[in-house]
Symmetry: C2
Subunit: 410 residues, 2 copies
């Protein structure tokens, strides 16, 4: 036994952190640190307007959740999630053509955890992901600990070959509804092609759908899992689509309640991964989520939320037109939370623009963070849900000043 | 573009799950499935008695958390956790000799997530863990996706050499207070030796302390991080101990609120891993946790909880004496939730005993699940916090019948 000798005040060098920790990009830290800048207009995040939270009703729901279900809410729950919530999600996300039971549903601690679990179940070190490009930053973050390789898929591009795109990948990843970051709606023919390729090649097809209910124009398109179910309509779902969602954009991100819907064998594998990740999702937040669904609260607030965000999308596009049309192009998204702007001049580097933007009091998410290689430097993601129209206009005015400053500095 | 041809009803074979998924043991599934057996007495889990939950006060705390802090509770929060909760934890876990600030604290979504994050930050594929043996099942689960190798440390064993034990490992892992699964208190000299070895070798020393406040006899021993702080008393903590805890055993597992206390550089690395794991812990549960700490609720309920569990520990040990002393030995634990029983006959296999036990209506956790290699088949972990004394007695009576049945079958 070692005696209790004095400890060395300057300890020995410690073992290195895991290798993947060295692969994160600096620009992410820059924009995460931006919160401290006074009067900053932040269009970098994917944040709801806090005014849409139904605070009073949620407070009462929270009280009742604990008072009426104390054992379920305060104790350990099943790894898969509370049976009543799994049943409610199966009803909500299923249809006669896509009959779902609780065996098709895993409750996750947020959509981010759903991505982490998919990585754990499907990726060996260095495994290949065929991912829609540009790709949601959070998905890249979730999978980085497994050091994957990426095949970039530009969906809806001329000549896109879904079969070739999926062949040999551990899984494919897409955000078909108002893709993060581009806000683009993946077209019906591309959806069909992706699903056919998944059935044909066997490759798992991960559909991430946090924004589907934030639809501002036109009718919704079928989800990938709905298209996949057409292979055997009405049969228990056993296909290759792994469909994930969250209540973060519909009611409140602070609940951290999401889900995965998939074939039962995949749900069982994901459950094993969840067991070692956080054992189970909080019963408190699961019961609140269930009440928000069952009382109709989510549907009750949706029309006002959609109207508010539609007006803000229009305000942002008008502000872009007024202040930035000389330098950027963009498409008007039919849903979601973001406009994707691309520089007309391929030499305009949105990483280089960011310090000027921060100095001018505006923070956006540069395109490099949505690219596993960091090479895409010509675009930016602009959020329109958090800020009021006059702030969006002021933000785009500031961004115009930042572009002028960058050009002057060059 | 692929035309919308009919989907093949029998899709191609899908890519294999990640390799680690094949390494889980069957016995875990057996005891997880035991919940469905009628009148089963379950001493397998580490569950609190639901009667100790302060339901009414928690319900009111939940209501106020949402009503009074809606933006913080319902929106996205900082990855590191709410500043007010980090400050409260720093005050609660620090001391004049171990001054902590929020920069030393990461809020985690349960103690299990803390283990997952440590694995992500410190383990490359196949990395070496020097772990207290036998080891908490959940820690093995959390690290399995990174396919680590294990060096088993039998703490307090004669001739235990902490320096040699830690050398070359990515990190060491110990549950010094009432170890899971053995219930053993790691002695002061061994604690000092582990800490000295960590300072000397640089190896990170992960201290997992979910049970520290469930102390039934005697005075508490200093935590490893407190001993480590003695290298530079009163200085901001920058040492090699990574100390984790949870509110699951103190107030309610359903909150899923835990923490990691460590050097700021380690907290920053863990924060990066948490960002890709669930982005942030629920504001709802964090605010409830903070109120449970700040209102003194946790301290208020502790004496009754400790008295209840002390009586149950004594009841379990009396039942073991009455029904199983011919076949097993055990130590009376001074804290925690478990008694660890070891078969006198090395040929008595507790994996083989389990089906007989389930048939008799009792479920325990066999020693094999607490061993990365699964080789330890001579022990069992018995929980005493969930069941009333008469059920503990009946459970041990049934276990005696099961042993007789196993012996008869042999």
């Amino acid at each position: 036994m070692v005696p209790s000798s004095p400890l060395p005040a300057s300890p020995a060098p410690r073992p290195a952190f895991a290798r993947w920790m060295g692969t994160t990009n600096q620009i992410t830290r820059t924009f995460l640190a931006a919160g401290a800048i006074p009067d900053l207009i932040n269009v970098a995040g994917g944040l709801p307007d806090p005014d849409v939270y139904p605070t009073e009703r949620m407070a009462e729901i929270a009280r009742r959740a604990v008072a009426e279900h104390p054992d379920e809410v305060l104790g350990y729950g099943p790894v898969e999630g509370l049976p009543a919530l799994r049943d409610a999600l199966a009803r909500r996300l299923g249809s006669p053509a896509l009959p779902l039971t609780r065996d098709n549903v895993l409750v996750t601690t947020s959509g981010m955890q759903a991505l982490d679990l998919v990585g754990k179940v499907l990726l060996d070190e260095g495994g290949l992901i065929a991912g829609q490009h540009p790709t949601y930053l959070g998905a890249l973050d979730a999978w980085r600990p497994r050091s994957p390789t990426f095949r970039n898929l530009v969906l809806d591009a001329p000549g896109f070959d879904a079969h070739r795109a999926l062949t040999g990948a551990q899984f494919a990843y897409a955000v078909p509804n108002f893709s993060n970051p581009t806000g683009r709606l993946v077209g019906l023919e591309t959806r069909r092609a992706l699903v056919a390729a998944a059935h044909d090649t066997g490759t798992w097809l991960v559909e991430d759908d946090p924004y589907g209910t934030l639809l501002y124009d036109g009718a919704p398109l079928p989800r990938l899992i709905e298209l996949s179910a057409q292979a055997a309509p009405g049969a228990p779902y056993a296909g290759p689509v792994v469909s994930m969602g969250t209540l973060s954009k519909e009611i409140a991100p602070g609940l951290r309640v999401g889900w995965i819907v998939a074939a039962p064998a995949m749900i069982q594998a994901l459950t094993l991964a969840k067991q070692g990740s956080d054992l189970c999702t909080s019963g408190v937040t699961q019961r609140i989520a269930l009440a928000a669904i069952e009382t109709g609260l989510i549907e009750a607030i949706r029309p006002a939320v959609v109207a508010l965000y539609r007006a803000r999308r229009d305000a942002l596009c008008a502000a872009l037109e007024a202040h930035l049309s000389a330098w950027f192009t963009w498409e008007v998204p039919v849903g979601g939370m973001f406009v994707w702007a691309t520089a007309k001049d391929p030499g305009l580097d949105t990483d280089a623009l960011l310090p000027h933007a921060l100095k001018a009091g505006i923070c956006y998410a540069p395109s490099s963070v949505f690219d596993a290689s960091g090479a895409n430097r010509r675009g930016m993601r602009i959020n329109f849900t958090l800020n009021r129209p006059e702030r969006l206009d002021e933000g785009m005015r500031r961004l115009g000043l930042a572009v002028a400053a960058l050009r002057g500095a060059a």
